[in-house]
Amino acid sequence: MDQKEIYELLAEKLGPAALGFNDEGVEAYADVEPGSIAAACTFLRDDERLQFNQLMCLSGIDWDGYDENGKGKSVKILGYTDEGQPETSDHVSEGDFGVAYSLYSHSRRHKFTLRVRTPRATASVPTVSGVWTTAAWHEREAWDLLGIRFTGHRDLRRILLEEHWVGHPLRKDYQMPGTWDNVPLHGQPYCENPFPPIEVTPDQPAGDDPAEG
């Protein structure tokens, strides 16, 4: 089925919670209200005409500093300085978080992309792990790396990082840690160099070796 037709069916079901459809880019997508994402997904899965039985991908996105004009001027992520110290920035992050759901139907052979946006302050979206179980791990990953809370998720723990890790690394304002468990993480030597650098004295004239006499 055509992307536009799928969106029309969805908009009919959701009413004002369907925020719009965009097919200008390489891939069309529909924006929906975050509160109704679970209802939208259940409809897309169960409707006889749509039958989206596979969630291909669930991507958490930090939209902070995204260059709307498409000039590649998005905010730079923070790394380490040449001295091995974490970089800092004055930039105050305000952008929304987003989640993109890429769906596929094995029986109908069509795809669809849904997107939601949630303000940075709340950063929470209802879970869809009740619709497709595979979402449970994808959502844990989005929580771990971006700090998006999925309400109603049964087991929202970190999945890739340590339980006691501080911060969410894929956020655009994430500042790299200097040390972890007292181990320096970047650029700093673990021990003193046992071989001191060889000093060359430039003023010794060539060929004037005292051993040659």
Partner: protein, 392 residues
Amino acid sequence: MAIENIKTKGGWADQDHVPGIKSELLELNMGPQHPATHGVLRLVLHTDGEIVFKVTPVLGYLHRCAEKIAEGVNYKQWVVYSDRFDYLAPMCCNHAYVTALEKVMQQEVPERAEHLRIVTAELSRIASHLIALATFGLDMGAWTPLLYCFREREVILDLLERISGGRMLYNYMVPGGVRYDMPKDNWAADVLEFITMLENKKIADYNNLLSYNKIFVERLGNVAVIDPQTAYDYGCTGPVLRGAGVKFDCRKDDPYSLYHKFDFEIPVGQGEMGAVGDCWDRYFVRVCEIEQSCRIIRQALESLPDGPVQAIDLTKIVKAPAGAAYSRVESAKGELGHYIIADGGQVAFRNKVRSPSFCNLHVVEKIGVGQMVSDLVALIGSLDIVLGEIDR
């Protein structure tokens, strides 16, 4: 449901009725250093004796946050990180990334480059499946097939070294083509000779040694059956989905590159040694896929057109116009997808990787329950996970 499952096998629920004997669940760590977990994966098992009551996979031992690196290096520099995902089939990972990037860039690729990509990706797939057979045999206690499979894999590594310069990690594909053209020293003839040997002799060897081995079959038939509904629900793809009897392959059903030009079959699980979707089916789908990959390689090499192999000058920096797209390919383990968001610059704004092993592993939380610990080893072996891809 889990408890009923265990009851039928005479597990802890029954033992509680024996007067004077109290039983309790044992918490057991399988891994992170365990030969059957195929890498640094930890499974926290709750078992009653030999029967698994609950499985909780613990991931992240190999996490490198490649998605964060993708936001810091430019598009071409990141190809080398995609190699490190599935290090047993790096060409497929290269292919997945450049396909996704070219979709966002709306970049055409020369036909010769596409043919070379398909040949190398299929060779990589064969190498990965050979490892899958070898290590699966090893998990089940069969030592010898490992040596046979590694012998053939070595030939593939040599062939790929000749075309790309790398033995294990190739960094071969670039946006808009491939890095090098085919070497002039009879490379195509050597590939054809190798796949002919594989088709005519070696696959029969594997079948005689392993596939139809009575011990192997009795160990795997009817074990850890995954039904299609569970596979869809948990996002299983690749041989795991096809082993469940679903005829789905991105190369046929969602064609990318030039796969629509080639003639090949999609092997699915038949339930030959038990139920459809058991461990043996998942194993045997891989053996059949080796044959199909050989067919694709032969057709791709025989119809190899002349022409350039790069659409973009290698020295130029690549930029992608603003936009977002999800693109997927059939990697050796299943559906490998990238969701790339571009902002018009030379660095990705977001690059989310959907790796097949990550989703395939999730299913052990359901299928592992009620199995014997030894059958859990069979289940994990039959899923053919690779931890570089799960932890990314």
